[in-house]
């Protein structure tokens, strides 16, 4: 694939904490970690999805002014950011493994419309749904 979405970013309250979460608890890999003064471009990647990077960005100067950064930190902490979906082969197995690693689940696995989904949050408050991929019939 040569065209398409390459990076989508999340705002996180602390980039060190976030990268630790996405790498150690979710199994992502660091793709790019580049610093320029106070700015840090940090992206991670799902091991099975080499064409896509998830950016873990801090709402802070110089990208945002102080007041906007503060407002953004509040919104993230309130869980007001848009939904994220992680697709897995086996939701219950992933749930057990991630919970053991200390992931904060907001919803235990539920069977719904022929699939299974669970919910969790990253330390900042970004909410994920973890949905089991449908098997081809």
């Amino acid at each position: 694939m040569s065209q398409g979405v390459a990076v989508v970013g999340l705002y996180v309250r602390d980039q060190d904490e976030a990268v630790q979460f996405y790498v150690e608890k979710l199994g992502f890999r660091i793709h790019t970690d580049a610093r320029n003064g106070n700015y840090r471009w940090l992206t991670v990647q799902h091991p099975e999805q080499p064409s896509f990077q998830l950016g873990l960005f801090a709402p802070a100067p110089p990208t945002l002014d102080d007041a906007t950064a503060q407002a953004m930190r509040e919104l993230v902490a309130k869980g007001a950011m848009p939904p994220l979906v992680l697709v897995v082969d086996d939701c219950r197995a992933a749930f057990s493994q991630m919970r053991e690693r200390g992931v904060e689940f907001t919803q235990d696995p539920i069977d719904r419309f022929g699939t299974v989904d669970a919910g969790f949050r990253d330390p900042s408050g970004n909410g994920w749904k973890m949905i089991q991929a449908r098997r081809d019939k």
């Binding site: 309250r13 060190d16 509040e74 902490a77 309130k78 869980g79 919803q107 408050g125």
Partner: protein, 174 residues
């Protein structure tokens, strides 16, 4: 970077600026209500989840999420009852008890006050309409149907009662 700024107390600036660390803990209480809206959530239980004092919890929650915690819980229960009415063949009595009400009467009255129709009417209307719920993850779908309860149910009742009263004699109004 990990340090969190204390909330600003500047009067007249943004209406409520709360410490993100506190907001994150308040979100945990909201998540817990979402996950088990059929359970009882007295303030002391919610305050414990958020690790704030009972005295500050309700006010902080309202500042953060725009509604008091008990009203938020009510909207979640109505949302869940609506989903069960729409998607299952469970009896209305079973739905009332499963979504956290202690009496069928209270459920029916509150449901009508919030949604404008009785549970039975909603079920009949929803089931008559064709749906394709599998196009949207169920969890988001149910959130989209969450009742938008901006005022207290008691206040809503008062307003509706006032609407149905005969016109007042307004001669005494200056």
């Amino acid at each position: 970077m990990a340090k969190v700024r204390p909330p600003k107390e500047t009067a007249g600036a943004s209406p409520t600026s709360l410490d993100p660390a506190l907001l994150r803990r308040l979100l945990r209480a909201k998540d817990r209500m979402d996950a088990a809206s059929h359970e009882e959530w007295p303030v002391e239980r919610l305050a414990r989840v958020s690790r704030v004092s009972e005295a500050h919890f309700a006010r902080s929650f309202k500042d953060a999420f725009g509604v008091p915690p008990h009203r938020y819980l009510l909207t979640r229960r109505i949302e869940r009852a609506t989903a069960l009415l729409r998607e299952t063949a469970m009896s209305i009595t079973d739905i009332a008890f499963q979504t956290g009400w202690k009496s069928l009467g209270t459920f029916g009255r509150t449901f009508r006050d919030v949604t404008g129709e009785s549970p039975g009417d909603l079920r009949a209307r929803e089931q008559a309409a064709a749906h394709q719920p599998e196009m949207v993850p169920g969890c988001f779908l149910s959130a989209a149907h969450r009742p938008d309860l901006k005022i207290a149910v008691s206040e809503k009742r008062r307003q509706e009662a006032a609407d149905t009263l005969p016109p007042h004699d307004e001669s005494e109004v200056v």
